[in-house]
Symmetry: C2
Subunit: 221 residues, 2 copies
DNA sequence: ACCTGAACACCGTTCAAGT
DNA sequence: ACCTGAACACCGTTCAAGT
């Protein structure tokens, strides 16, 4: 798949410090030790070169993060658009999008403000989503804000997925916040810890229901 | 208000490096130069002490960020809960919450995973919100996931509010992403830049509509 | 064209020494 | 109890020198 696959045998296969090699090494470092461990020094070591060598191929560490983000975008599932009803396709997209970036939360603030120009895979996702929305009957001028709204929810949920199980542990605070404490207890049931999935499900249900109601109204105009 | 206000005159007023003084200085540095400028050295300089002096009052830089976050929480408007209908109160809360942290986006990943224990102001906000939800008829066990869902949307929107105006500039990409490009053009109207408010409004409308529909169903059970 | 090794200007944090 | 100044172990990045 990668570049260099269909080169002649005997030819030195591929540049050692290709974009793909750097991105793969970065993902390796990140998967191994998280984003704290992702330093230029570690990345260089994983590639077997001196840190300064990287700067022949990359303008900054931030560049590498953008490459990683672009790479992850291929894991987002847009297969529902064009084949499934709008709500089903949107739900599938949202779930996979959130799952991918829940494991890369430090990238979320980066993606949220990254221009799509120069990010072809990200753009391809947007194109598939926009086409699916248009086909489902969303007027062309309504698509961008609705997609942005869903994305905001997805990004926030990806961050929330990293909350510790004790985030809502109100231990000695029942006197100070009785209703909230009761809400926590009622939610957790029999001493269960907090899991963020229930929040994501509730929000996705509500948002899709609200949007579908709007879509119905738009269709009947 | 702050500590030391009701001390006797003539007594040296307040510790120089009180929590309040450190938090205020931090907010000052952040407002002046953003989160990149917020270093321990700059914070110490603003307080007129050596960097190492801070560590008599703070365990880490992260501690100060948590103090700042707690301080900002007092700006979140929960006044609608208990006085206004659920949808109005929720909308007011969401708008102010998003506005406060849109100007402190680097804190968003911090809040999203911060335990409420030891954060009394944050807890006070949750208590007001939970009480408002309960009074509006939300069953006690449904409150936490619904609040988490709204918060996820709010946090994502706070990040999105910092997107550059050219985030969706598809310049030469009309051939590669025709539908998405058309959606951008139709949304931007007459050459207008992207503003994230439309996305926030669309999402908040949809989510509140979806939740209100669910609340109606719950009430009729 | 692309590498190395030294250097630079920072980081946050620790700690002995002072008062 | 709380400060200073020196030191530590890092950061990301630059650049002259090599091939």
């Amino acid at each position: 798949m990668g570049e260099g696959t269909h080169r002649r045998a005997g030819r030195p296969s591929t540049k050692v410090l290709s974009r793909q090699a750097i991105t793969d090494a970065a993902l390796d470092v990140i998967e191994h030790g998280g984003y704290d461990a992702f330093t230029v020094a570690k990345l260089a070591r994983a590639l077997g070169v001196a840190p300064s060598a990287l700067y022949n191929h990359v303008r900054s560490k931030q560049d590498v993060l953008l490459w990683v983000q672009e790479d992850l975008m291929t894991k987002v599932d847009v297969s529902g658009f064009g084949t499934e009803p709008w709500a089903v396709a949107t739900r599938r997209w949202a779930l996979s999008y959130r799952d991918v970036f829940a494991r890369h939360a430090p990238l979320v603030p980066v993606i949220a403000v990254m221009p799509v120009a120069g990010a072809p895979r990200t753009l391809a996702v947007y194109e598939a989503v926009a086409a699916g929305f248009a086909e489902a009957g969303w007027p062309i001028g309504t698509i961008v804000p609705v997609v942005v709204a869903l994305e905001s929810f997805i990004f926030g949920s990806a961050l929330d997925a990293n909350a510790p199980a004790d985030i809502f542990d109100t231990a000695d605070l029942a006197g100070v916040s009785p209703v909230f404490t009761a809400a926590i207890d009622a939610f957790a049931g029999s001493g269960g810890d907090y899991t963020p999935d229930a929040g994501f499900d509730a929000g996705l249900d509500a948002m899709i229901a609200g949007l579908e109601a709007r879509l119905d109204r738009l269709r009947n105009d």
